[in-house]
Symmetry: C2
Subunit: 185 residues, 2 copies
Amino acid sequence: MKENIGPKNALYPLPVTLVGSLVDGKPNYITIAHVGIVDLAHLSVSMAKVHYSNAGIRENGEFSVNLPPTGLVKETDYCGLVSGRKADKGSLFEAFYGVLENAPMIRECPVNMACRLEQTLDMPKHDVFIGEIVETFCDTEVLAGGNVDFSRVHPILFAMYDRSYFELGGRFADAWSCGKELMGK
Amino acid sequence: MKENIGPKNALYPLPVTLVGSLVDGKPNYITIAHVGIVDLAHLSVSMAKVHYSNAGIRENGEFSVNLPPTGLVKETDYCGLVSGRKADKGSLFEAFYGVLENAPMIRECPVNMACRLEQTLDMPKHDVFIGEIVETFCDTEVLAGGNVDFSRVHPILFAMYDRSYFELGGRFADAWSCGKELMGK
């Protein structure tokens, strides 16, 4: 039976990311799971306007998106609990940089993307930063045939209403393939 | 060791959705995993401009986002393989409607959102439809305490480069909580 639960956003689970930026010249990281793929060259991160990082991203026009593994769940959750105004979150991780000098990436995260801010959606309480992905770095251990094997990344997946962090389960089917047997029916 | 793999979008896994629309007055469904949360009231679905559904969404200003369970992986994959121009995908599922008469939802999917098109990002090859969530429906079996328990939804999670469908794993930590022990250190 269907139940109408009102206009609730139920587009979960989404991958938890740590968004890196320079604020007043220092690396800062914030936990963001309200993210999305815009197209293969662009992604979105939705950040409440109250956050400390937003001014740095606006000012520098650059940020990073890092995928923390389940083993870093405490550090990841902490970055969502404490503001960069009050704590130096930059010292939690080892930063590294690619060509974008204002997009600190996190060495301890197995997947890192350096982004150039392309546009910002001005929502009532959120800046939705749309970034062009300029460079992607991975730990060699998570690569298989030149691509990221997400079963090796151990990403943290998030659902909001019951405040859950989930692990990724097993690969169980092939995309653009398993539905072929229904063709022509 | 870090490897630079070029500007690859690695914001995976993302939940696979079936986007419902009316095209020429008939329900059509397409498989879209390049999605995102914009804020709690809005979501995004990125749909290549070549798709049959896009004109219907533009014309009617309404669409649905449905979360198929792993048990429907073949039907879900099929909806991404075959165009509505060539096949009647509307007959695959039982449609139902809320207040939005142009947003057919899929009864067989445990979570359904009816959306009003609020704006469209015009990317080079994609329409990124940003929808206001007007109504959300769920199977009573996936609710726990009035919220969606995603472990009961059995969503399909997608990663592109190796064409993977993954299951959701177990809930392993509490958000806005497990990081508290690092506070004050």
